[in-house]
């Protein structure tokens, strides 16, 4: 007992000095830099393949992956960073697709002019359902209200025949107009649009994660009451995260419309929202790269497994179960563990 160090002035023996690249790799800054470089390189390769491929199928798949990547990256802001279980993501995706399509059809807006009002509508709705539900701690109210909201939006869309075409959906005959000399109307142009939105979403998520706002979200995720006691406005920060999440999902929806040429209430189903949650859990909740890994596994793997025909979904299911059981922090967690230095000094 008498050998115990003084609480305020005690010193710990210095750790053994690491050498050369191991020292750099072992440092937190080195590990983060390496991860960031690897992640950006992998993403650049992935984005470049459809952009240069001659196969329409590859371009189609690339666009689908990019749009779902946006959904996963954006959901990660409210769910991964702030720890709030949102179950209306597919509804905001569909809301974006329908709002943009209706504005273009009924108000003769261009595709580009339809984007701000679509984003504003998503932001307003997110704030309207976020405020009553995010004031409570624990997240269960928020999960239930977003689930109910998602179903409500889907049912309204399916039953408002005059405006939305009802369950039969809407055939869309428009394409994004050329902008700054770039033709966004072609299949490759729409891919560029989706890939661009994915890069922007990733940049927004990274900027949030390393900002004061992002640190407040992580503190809220860890302990709302403690975060509040430090002066963090818990409800306002959660609301801001939910609004950003929902606006990005709605913007992805605006691209989905001209990409497929057809939208229906099916795209707003709760199972689609839960799939995006699955992408985050498998990829690595709360990490920057996790949503991309999750999207590749959930959306890309079934395409690679087409040779297995009907068994491909069984194989995908087994892979997901294995990841959840053996890598609870997802694929990003496994990679982090592989290159993480052995920590000293922990007691």
């Amino acid at each position: 007992m008498t050998d115990m160090p003084d609480l305020a002035t005690a010193s710990v023996p210095p750790a053994k000095a690491p050498t050369a690249w191991r020292g750099w790799l072992g440092s937190l800054a080195g590990r983060r830099t390496l991860l960031a470089v690897l992640g950006i390189a992998a993403l650049a390769v992935l984005l470049a393949v459809p952009a240069t491929a001659s196969s329409r199928y590859i371009v189609y798949l690339g666009t689908l992956l990019a749009l779902h990547g946006v959904l996963a990256v954006s959901l990660n802001i409210i769910m991964g960073f702030a720890g709030q279980f949102a179950l209306a993501h597919a509804a905001f995706y569909g809301l974006g697709a329908y709002t943009s399509a209706i504005l273009i059809r009924d108000f003769d807006l261009s595709f580009w002019a339809s984007l701000p009002p679509t984003a504003a509508a998503a932001a307003l709705l997110a704030a309207a359902i976020g405020y009553p539900s995010l004031r409570f701690t624990g997240g269960i109210h928020f999960a239930l209200i977003t689930f109910a909201f998602g179903e409500l939006i889907r049912l309204v869309t399916a039953n408002w025949h005059d405006l939305t075409g009802g369950p039969q959906g809407m055939q869309l005959g428009f394409s994004p107009e050329p902008l700054l000399g770039i033709d966004f109307g072609s299949t490759r142009g729409i891919y560029a649009l989706a890939a661009g939105l994915l890069v922007i979403s990733l940049a927004i998520a990274a900027a949030i994660r390393f900002s004061r706002f992002g640190r407040s979200l992580v503190a809220i995720r860890e302990d709302e009451v403690l975060a509040s006691s430090l002066g963090i406005n818990v409800t306002a920060n959660k609301m801001a995260a939910f609004v950003i999440t929902s606006v990005l999902a709605a913007l992805a929806g605006t691209i989905y419309g001209p990409f497929v040429g057809f939208i229906s209430p099916e795209m707003m189903s709760a199972s689609d929202s839960i799939s995006v949650v699955g992408m985050l859990i498998v990829g690595g909740l709360g990490t920057l790269a996790g949503p991309i890994f999750g999207t590749l596994i959930f959306m890309g793997l079934p395409e690679l497994l087409r040779v297995a025909k009907l068994y491909r979904l069984v194989i995908l299911g087994l892979i997901i179960i294995a990841v959840v059981l053996f890598a609870p922090k997802g694929v990003a967690g496994v990679i982090d563990r592989l290159i993480r230095p052995k920590r000293g000094g922990a007691r």
Binding site: M1, M4, P5, D6, L7, A8, T9, A10, S11, V12, L28, R212, R215, S216, V218, A219, E222, D223, V225, L226, A227, S228, S229, L230, G231, I232, N233, R343, G345, A346, R347
Partner: protein, 232 residues
């Protein structure tokens, strides 16, 4: 001076604090002592807006009752929660930085440098996950995190909870230093010996009410208080 008048806190139909009034003069240490469930933590939580309350809470002309916690922290009233409550997966540095959440980046850096110079242990453990520290070290980080906000009034809930006697003495030394620097401190504590040794004013709470108040010697002069809290 922190003044509290007729403070009431209720959880549903259960009244945890029943019309408590007291004052803590600026620059002094006061301690709320009492058994589990006496209403000490509820009183501190009400002062920082973490629970709803009725009554008047003020420092001079500034009233805090009804304000949100972030507004109260902006006024310089900061609480160290019971059980130390760090973010265990975050590093010591990240925990400390969150304490200055409402401050500018320059203020945060300056305050971090000051506290790390004052408590070298914080600098040496800066990148270590806070959850891996010992209980005493965690308490120090929790107090330092509250100091990052440069409070004028520091509220500490059960600073001795779960600490070895030697660590309790060291926490007491840190609090005396803060007192010497002019900080107003209100402690909620079950350990009456600790409270008596460190505080200039004791407030004895029972069933949501203050039953005795005054300098430690005067309060401990009551035989029933001595018997209940010191066992003598």
């Amino acid at each position: 001076m922190l003044t509290v008048e007729n403070l009431k806190v209720a959880y549903g139909r259960v009244e945890a604090v029943r019309g408590v009034s007291f004052a803590v003069p600026a620059g002094q240490i006061a301690a709320l002592i009492g058994a589990n469930g006496a209403g000490k933590s509820s009183t501190l939580n009400a002062l920082t807006g973490l629970v709803r309350c009725r009554g008047k809470i003020a420092e001079g002309d500034i009233r805090f009752d009804g304000l949100a916690t972030d507004a109260i922290v902006r006024h310089g009233v900061v609480q160290v929660a019971q059980g130390r409550q760090l973010f265990p997966l975050m590093s010591v540095r990240e925990n400390l930085e969150l304490g200055a959440f409402l401050r500018s980046a320059a203020d945060k850096r300056r305050r971090l440098d000051e506290l790390m110079a004052r408590f070298p242990l914080l600098a040496e453990r800066a990148e270590q996950a806070a959850g891996t520290l010992s209980g005493g070290e965690q308490q120090l980080v929790a107090i330092a995190r509250a100091l990052m906000a440069e409070p004028r009034i520091l509220l500490i809930d059960e600073p001795c909870l779960g600490l070895a006697p030697i660590m309790i003495r060291r926490v007491a030394a840190v609090l005396r230093d803060l007192h010497a620097a002019g900080l107003t401190i209100l402690i909620a504590e079950q350990n009456a010996s600790f409270a008596t040794a460190i505080a200039e004013h004791l407030l004895v709470m029972e069933n949501g009410r203050i039953t005795q108040a005054g300098p430690p010697a005067a309060v401990m002069a009551h035989a029933d208080v001595r018997r209940a809290y010191l066992g003598i």
